[in-house]
Symmetry: D2
Subunit: 267 residues, 4 copies
Amino acid sequence: MDTVHRATEPVGYSLPLSPSGLSSMITPPPWHFTGDVVMVDYRVDPAAAERFLPPGLSLGADPGAAAAVFADWQWCSDSGAELAEPARCQFGEFLIFLACEYRGAPMARCPYAWVDQPVPMARGWIQGMPKQLGVVHQTRPRPLGRAGAALTSGTRFDGVLSVFGHRTARAGVTLTERTEVRPALHDVPLAHTRLFPGWLPGEKPLADLVASEVTDVEFGEIWTGEATLELSAEGMDQDFASLAPVEVGAGHVFSYAETLRGGRLLD
Amino acid sequence: MDTVHRATEPVGYSLPLSPSGLSSMITPPPWHFTGDVVMVDYRVDPAAAERFLPPGLSLGADPGAAAAVFADWQWCSDSGAELAEPARCQFGEFLIFLACEYRGAPMARCPYAWVDQPVPMARGWIQGMPKQLGVVHQTRPRPLGRAGAALTSGTRFDGVLSVFGHRTARAGVTLTERTEVRPALHDVPLAHTRLFPGWLPGEKPLADLVASEVTDVEFGEIWTGEATLELSAEGMDQDFASLAPVEVGAGHVFSYAETLRGGRLLD
Amino acid sequence: MDTVHRATEPVGYSLPLSPSGLSSMITPPPWHFTGDVVMVDYRVDPAAAERFLPPGLSLGADPGAAAAVFADWQWCSDSGAELAEPARCQFGEFLIFLACEYRGAPMARCPYAWVDQPVPMARGWIQGMPKQLGVVHQTRPRPLGRAGAALTSGTRFDGVLSVFGHRTARAGVTLTERTEVRPALHDVPLAHTRLFPGWLPGEKPLADLVASEVTDVEFGEIWTGEATLELSAEGMDQDFASLAPVEVGAGHVFSYAETLRGGRLLD
Amino acid sequence: MDTVHRATEPVGYSLPLSPSGLSSMITPPPWHFTGDVVMVDYRVDPAAAERFLPPGLSLGADPGAAAAVFADWQWCSDSGAELAEPARCQFGEFLIFLACEYRGAPMARCPYAWVDQPVPMARGWIQGMPKQLGVVHQTRPRPLGRAGAALTSGTRFDGVLSVFGHRTARAGVTLTERTEVRPALHDVPLAHTRLFPGWLPGEKPLADLVASEVTDVEFGEIWTGEATLELSAEGMDQDFASLAPVEVGAGHVFSYAETLRGGRLLD
């Protein structure tokens, strides 16, 4: 049998496997991120939020606290090689965060997430972040001109998400003042469920409750302001609709960086 | 602890998990497909092909046989609900197939695949098909007019793939005659490696050699013809480049349907 | 002055001008088209329709008659060269037609149009068809499999349009029977206003009322059926909203080809 | 005839015309722009450059001087309304500039341009800028983190353009120092040919040599550095290929704002 002559088998951190491993769509962590964030605090029905929490997580000290987050990212692996390819190293993202608690420690649960590039989508599934593909646009700081968006009182930052051609989310933040306070739900660990769906007869899915391990967090200037938020149920299901805002709180605009190193098992 | 009051936990065949399971990005199999195919047989260096085969698979009776396949698909779950959403139920695909053998049975190995929609990409990862996101266009049969593409001798069908803005593949088939012979590499089972990358400290990836279970195969009119094929290494790695055509064979244009029901473990 | 030495100046049917003229984005007419159409007859408020008609056009014999048309096209110039490039020669389109009359002759006016490729958009502006860029998807005939869409009684064909991430139009046709009757608003000349906006100080725009000159019309099998149609004003203006359906009529599914040769001046 | 009862006719600065004029795809100038620019000076064969100049323009004092410009823009009309819609008010652009002269005044000619949004494409055609649709990505300044791109010596900024799935242009600038010197070809008026192609029998195209009228120019920090530039002829014509770099000069990274107010006729 000819296979006995092979010194190697195809390898890779992810598919596609290939002789050298270079074809792997995903590079192994750590992954370094830097981005501009437009974030809106809001509140959902606590009972609705609770239905999104797996065993092990509870609503915690502030039931119903939630956030909608637009972020415009640039990322790279340890080699930094991706940075030379702006078509690969940039993506837009929209996330929903729900406040929760694990063994008394405050965390955030991400029930829905959309990105506009396939690599971060696939990376989401590896870590348990439920990233789908959508169309994301947001205002970024731009210092010059009448069409600019300076980081100053009165400037408005917007974010919009479309999913399969439906306008699904829209957020707006009009800056009022600079602050040193980090937005609460952007400053706690994320608790995800890693899930590998079953495919073989009778197979149960692999499902782990994990927390993301993040280092090298940096916040740039943090601005706060008045916010608006609309989530549309058109084209979405009743579960997404159950997380509609019952109250909209403050908005936050800031730049941010972190390194995502892997996960640790909860429970 | 509040979680004891919950009657349910979030569920779903895939992420995102949600109270009812409706938010799952992927519906459970079976998945029904119907498509138009433009396919080109070609040959690669057998030693290069072998380096893409995992233990358990060998080159088989025709070492170096390969095919490049463009397909324009429509799909649905058992409910058929997706068919009402043309933005969701259609996608384009480009595949490479390598001839191989498992315990004496001819099979095909798919070392590279690109689709232009996220749902088939994620579905690929569940079954072990290494689908990435690309831009795919191909000629489809069109009976009318000077701009048409009738299924008749002399008509040319083309397919093009771009990946991150690089033209990666181009195939052309000029029809010569109708045939009853099914293209060999489109008529054997596929042997995939299901891979769930490691994320936890020291974790080994889940990796299974599996075969796809397909039923309800239908071929429409099959046309054969003269073919061209170019695979470009620009923007790709040396592993992809090692599968460049050393010889180009016949082309095939046909419509095709199948139902993909799940996988079975090999070994 | 060096320019006196030049034998040539840059040329082209359209921009970009270049030494040989090969860089012109648009090839000169005639342009040949072949496509699959999903069309829904409907009625609008006749007064609203009339406000979209320029002097010279009147509502005609059937005030308020309108149609929404999804079409999936392939096109080429006389050379046919574009057909070898499936990324260039295909596009999706959504049109609204309003019934009207010019000097007693029935015509159609297209107040709104969207395509998903830049070449047909620019070509629209040359002929006076108000084409913008949108995301268009529609069901095409597919004979095989459970996910197919056979041209037979009971099959449903859908079309969807999204504009800047808003779902703007949705049509559905469930086939009931084959017919020989050509859909009325797809079988009359189109009356457009060619408009070249002013740019120089005090310049008045060039504006001509023209009719499109079409030859080599072919209809394939025509199927009729029950239809639904929704036009959404979300993200659109009050003028678009004024053409909302007050009644939805029959649907039509057919393939079609034509050659567009240029325009003739009306008035 | 019913048209005598109409008080109004459909209006608009551009197509689509509509009762109120609100449907016009393009708002009338002025248009305000703010952007981040990655620019590379280079040299082309002067004879090739000259073949792109219409009568009235000559090569001027520095024959063969050229520049490749990637820009990431945000724009708005006088109302500023577009700024609330990040999906509408942002676009990426790639331009080529050729040095030229009009009656002794230095100007720039833009033989090729690509943008990634339809509104700036159509606006280009109104002013005579030959904008086509492409896929544009570029590095923007990002102050934080290992994946960042700080405005400091040693940071690299890249830009890539793809057209119909071919990688057409790639530029890179590695910053060396801050400067007060404005890049020459980004600081002169642009001379365009406004062109409205013929459509009626025997019609000659409208063609005017015009200069753009720009006010409110602002430059942010200007950084200069070492540059690379590749233009690929794959998928392009011989005219584009004739402008390939024969020498690559300095690179520039800066932010920039301007207001475009209209055009004035040359000659």
